[in-house]
Amino acid sequence: MSTPQVLFAYFAVAMTILSLLVVTRRNPVHSVLWMLVLFIHIAALYLFLNAEFIAAIQIIIYAGAILVLFLFVIMLLNLRKEETEKRFQKQWLYSIAISVLFVFFLVLIVGNITVIPPPGPYTADVIKSEGHIMTVGKVLYSEFLLPFEIASLILLVAIIGAVVLAKKRIE
C-alpha cells in the first residue's frame, strides 16, 4: 500500500469508529464532542481531495456554528435525569438490520465504481495554479448565481423562523 492509501485507511477506520461513538453515547454533550472530532477528520479528508475551501467551511460552519447551536440547545434543556434512562427504543434490533442491509446493498451496487472519462477541465494543476477559492467562486457566481441567491433566501427564512419559533410568547 502506498502512503495515501495508508492515510486513507486510518481516516476510514477512525471515521467509522467516531460515527459509532456519536450515535451510541448516552450523554448528548459527549455525542457532540465526538462529532467535533469527526468533523475535523472529514475536513482533513477534503484536503486529500483538493477541496481546501470546502474543508475550511466544514470547520467554520459545521464545527463552529452548527455544533455550538447543538451545545446551546442541550444547555437550555435541562436533561440531567434523562441521562440515566435507557438510550435505545425497542425497535433497535430492526434498525441494526435495516442499516446493515442498506450498507450491504449499497456496497454491492457502488462497491467498484469508477469514473469514465472524459474528465472535466478542473484538474489538480489548474486548481493549484488558479487557487481553489477563485475556481469555486468563478463557477458559483456565473453558472450557479440563481441557486446562490436562493440559498441566501433560505438562510433568511431560517433566521426568521428560528426566532419566531423559539421566542417566548408574550401574553
Binding site: V23, V32, A51, L76, Y94, S99, V136, V139, L140, E143
Partner: protein, 100 residues
C-alpha cells in the same frame, strides 16, 4: 492513488450508521445529530466524485448542502425548544400526541 470506490464505501458506511442512530435512539437531539452525520457522509461522496470527475459542480452542491443543513439545524432545534416548553420531554417514544 486511492480509488474512488473507497470513498464511496466509506460514505455508505457513515450514512448507514446515521440511519441506525436515526431509527433507534430515543433522544431527539441525537436524532438531529444523526441527520447531520448522514448529510456529511453525502458531502464526502459529492466531493470525491467532484475530484475524480475533475468538475466543480460536486463542491458547489456541497456548499448548498451545508447551507441547507445550517437552516435545518436552526429550525429543527427551535421547534425542539418550542415543543419542550409545552411538554417537557425529548424522548421520541413519549412524544405520542398524534397517536390514535
Amino acid at each position: 492513488m486511492v480509488p474512488l470506490s473507497w470513498y464511496i464505501v466509506l460514505s455508505a458506511l457513515m450514512f448507514s450508521i446515521g440511519v441506525f442512530g436515526f431509527l433507534s435512539r430515543r433522544n431527539l437531539i441525537i436524532i438531529f445529530i444523526s441527520i447531520e452525520l448522514m448529510l456529511n457522509s453525502v458531502n464526502i461522496s459529492l466531493v470525491a466524485f467532484s475530484h475524480y470527475l475533475q468538475s466543480m459542480r460536486g463542491q458547489i452542491l456541497v456548499f448548498f448542502v451545508i447551507t441547507v443543513a445550517a437552516a435545518e439545524a436552526a429550525i429543527g432545534l427551535a421547534i425542539l425548544i418550542a415543543f419542550y416548553r409545552n411538554n417537557p420531554t425529548i424522548k421520541v417514544d413519549e412524544i405520542n400526541l398524534l397517536k390514535g
